[in-house]
């Protein structure tokens, strides 16, 4: 099997699983308990926070451990909205966000918030001009995806961050879930106030993530209770998950450069191979796209059938994003990019990880070619 759905989730590193098991087994104390067993667990939590902070070049008190990417995005957006609603009720985001951002925004709409969805160009990128024009006196938050989960387009975070520095009261949230370890991003330098990452996208375990909350930023918690995580996120901490995540983060970031280089090479070879197939058109932009995502449309053929067919060849890909693929909707991102209904309905996403090999490319291309041919014969 060749697994090419790493943007949906990655396979945990063996070392990460080993850490999880060991912590869950030996350090099961509640970090908030007074006794020694609790103290041991708390110590692990502190070390994890310190290590995560060092790896991300932020401060330990800026690391908020969450239950993953969706929670991080919800906490950032709703947390800012509820805490700062006296300042204004306007939020700017883009039309190519992950549902955990767009749906959170839609939910806020019901509570009187006004949402501006920035359009994207044919490459899936927003324009700085549009951000400038969207800003109002009531704007409190700009929330933007870094690397688009469907097509891999990289948004101009630096430009937006630099620009927003003249508006200290508008907070800037970045959904970095797909970017971490693949497209480097400096939280501190780019004026980012909040940033979401999720462990299972970098070979950690599901159910853990980090929200970077810049020192001094106030948020309304989504979960109230025992005031854990600087009161931003109550609930007994998932110590084993958090330790496993920091280990995955370390391994990922230590190997970042080598991985990126490898992914670029595989991506290049794959695109080159796919372009030889006349029914395939590549949706991922050539410039400003992440090294691990290749999105292509298969000329009006049914994407879902293609995914199943390809699985018979032992190759695992997905239709657009995993989170919305069960709804059988055309790709929202491709529609926003004005690619048209037909292409949006037949979009396939290949997403790579460091586990993939350049040597796999010929057989992947061959299988895809055979599958499109077979499917074309049957469907027409």
């Amino acid at each position: 099997m060749i697994y090419l759905d790493n943007s949906a989730t990655t396979k945990p590193y063996n070392e990460v699983l080993a850490s999880f098991v060991k912590v869950a087994e030996n350090y099961y104390g509640n970090p908030s308990s007074l006794h020694g067993v609790g103290a041991e667990a708390e110590k692990l939590l502190m070390q994890a926070r310190k290590q995560a902070a060092e790896l991300l070049d932020i401060l330990p008190q800026e690391v908020v451990f969450t239950g993953g990417g969706s929670e991080g995005n919800n906490l950032a957006i709703k947390g800012v909205a509820l805490k700062h609603k006296h300042r204004g009720n306007h939020i700017i985001t883009t039309s190519v966000e992950h549902p955990s951002v767009s749906e959170a925004c839609e939910q806020l709409k019901e509570h009187g918030f006004e949402i501006t969805y920035l359009p994207v160009n044919h490459d899936g990128m927003i324009e700085l001009e549009d951000v400038k024009n969207a800003i109002k006196d009531t704007t409190i938050l700009v929330s933007m995806i870094h690397v688009n989960n469907e097509i891999g387009a990289i948004q101009p975070i630096r430009l937006v961050g630099e620009f927003l520095k003249i508006y200290p009261k508008i907070l800037f949230h970045v959904d970095h879930v797909q970017g971490i370890g693949k497209v480097p991003l400096s939280f501190k330098d780019l004026g980012i106030d909040l940033c979401t990452i999720s462990a299972h996208k970098f070979n950690g375990l599901k159910g853990t993530g980090i929200l970077y909350v810049r020192s001094g930023i106030q948020l309304s918690p989504l979960i109230s209770g025992g005031e854990q995580e600087m009161q931003f996120r109550s609930g007994t901490e998932n110590v084993a998950g958090v330790v496993a995540m920091t280990k995955a983060l370390r391994i990922t970031l230590e190997n970042k450069e080598r991985t990126i280089e490898k992914l670029e090479a595989i991506k290049c070879a794959l695109i080159e191979g796919l372009l030889t197939n006349p029914v395939i058109s590549i949706n991922t932009p050539t410039l400003n796209s992440a090294p691990h995502i290749i999105n292509f449309s298969i000329g009006g053929l049914k994407a879902e059938v293609f995914v199943h067919l390809l699985e018979e060849y032992g190759i695992i890909v997905s239709t657009t994003s995993a989170c919305s693929s069960k709804k059988k909707m055309p790709s929202k991102t491709l529609l926003a990019m004005n690619k048209g209904e037909a292409l949006a309905n037949s979009a396939i996403r290949i997403s790579l990880s460091g586990d993939n090999q350049l040597e796999e490319v010929p057989s992947i291309v061959k299988s895809i070619n055979e599958a499109t041919e077979k499917l074309g014969r049957v469907m027409r």
Binding site: S19, K22, V23, L34, H35, G36, A39, E40, E42, K43, L44, Q47, A48, Q51, V243, T246, K247, R250
Partner: protein, 400 residues
């Protein structure tokens, strides 16, 4: 072109006359220790400077570390070039452009150590200055109060150009003043006292009094963490953890409540002094600040200090609490110190301790117990942990 070396200036060491060499040697060794993981650098010592030849290593990280090494007054990132005027001009322009220079004023200060150099200082100033002026737009010269001073030091072997100065922490190299035992409680004051002691060149070993079950693992962890922070400013630190429960319980039973605090302090000092003898240190450092708490009134200190004539160094004695807190924040001990756990000083603390205790009285109350034996037992059972900045618990580290 890039920064080629860092030029380190000494503070007070320069006044040390015949002992100077020893101080410089120690400083060099401390720098060696702190920069050990930069394999490619070379450290050179001269009479009045230390140079770090970078050989391509990260100048930013190195300069961060230099800011924690006592004995360094200031340092500059320098570009080295040959002593030929055209080379000097080019290098000066490079160094200048590395700075945030827009809208600033500048001047050039040449120093001609090599008297055979064909131009005198005025001519060097003029030539280098005009070269920078013609190559950088919107720049003004101000010879009296320049915002940027481009220093050109012409020596016979090479010329050094520096314009970015960074202050070091000052003080004396750790280890040049001998060794002192630091009584480390886990509160705000004692780590700051340790920091100041190290600043005056003392090497420290920490002593912590541990009273399980009254104080717990977390309070011990605080002290481990505080000690680790202090290792940033010097070498590895030995931490002695003294089992203190029994003595505290005996005092509680034997000494009247209003004198129990004084007696506790006397016992702590006696134990620390015993450990000091074993460790061949010559002083004891404490975080006492005059009048801060009952045990730190002049009368109390007089009664407590009676048990030893070892020099007691009290760096904070005249400092106000906000000043101490500021330093604690700067050296990153504050957030650890304020973790809310009991320590041996907060348990059993009497409701109304004597602020003007009498020596004779405390001696009388203590005379009914053989404290000597209890002290020896505590010293024998003291656990020693060596704390270094990088070393952690290996079993735990593997989890990360």
């Amino acid at each position: 072109m890039q920064y080629d070396r860092i030029l380190i200036r000494f503070g007070e060491i320069s006044t040390k006359g015949r002992n100077r060499k020893k101080f410089i040697e120690k400083l060099k060794r401390n720098i060696d220790f702190k920069l050990a993981d930069f394999k490619d650098i070379m450290i050179e010592t001269t009479r009045d400077r230390i140079y770090i030849v970078l050989n391509g290593e990260d100048s930013e990280e190195i300069s961060n570390r230099l800011q924690t090494i006592f004995g360094i007054h200031s340092f500059s990132l320098a570009v080295k070039t040959s002593s030929a005027i055209e080379e000097i001009k080019a290098a000066a322009l490079f160094a200048f452009k590395e700075l945030d220079y827009v809208g600033k004023t500048f001047k050039v200060t040449a120093k001609r150590v090599d008297k055979l150099f064909p131009f005198d200082t005025n001519e060097i100033n003029y030539q280098v200055g005009s070269h920078i002026l013609t190559n950088v737009a919107d720049l003004k010269v101000d010879v009296h109060h320049p915002m940027i001073n481009v220093r050109v030091e012409v020596r016979s072997d090479a010329t050094y150009i520096t314009c970015k100065d960074i202050y070091g922490p000052g003080g004396l190299p750790v280890g040049t003043s001998g060794k002192s035992m630091l009584m480390l409680s886990g509160g705000l004051d004692s780590p700051v006292a340790g920091y100041f002691a190290m600043k005056r060149g003392l090497e420290i070993e920490a002593v912590h009094f541990y009273s399980p079950p009254y104080t717990n693992e977390r309070s011990k962890q605080k002290v481990l963490d505080l000690t680790e922070v202090l290792t940033k400013f010097g070498p590895d630190i030995k931490l002695h953890i003294v089992p203190f429960t029994e003595i505290q319980e005996v005092i509680q039973k034997q000494v009247p409540e209003n004198y129990s605090l004084i007696s506790t302090r006397r016992m702590m000092l006696r134990i620390t002094d015993e450990i000091r003898k074993k460790q061949r240190a010559l002083a004891i450092t404490t975080g006492e600040s005059l009048g801060q708490v009952a045990s730190q009134t002049m009368e109390s200190m007089y009664a407590i200090n009676e048990v030893t004539n070892t020099p007691i160094i009290r760096p904070l004695i005249t400092m106000d609490k906000p000043e101490i807190i500021d330093v604690a924040k700067n050296i990153n001990t504050h957030d650890i110190s304020i973790r809310p756990f009991e320590d041996c000083c907060t348990i059993f603390s009497p409701a109304a301790p004597k602020t003007r205790p009498k020596r004779e009285k405390v001696e009388f109350y203590e005379s009914f117990v053989d404290f000597e034996a209890l002290i020896n037992k505590a010293v024998d059972q003291t656990e020693m942990i060596k704390i270094s900045q990088q070393k952690h618990n290996q079993e735990i580290d593997e989890l990360f």
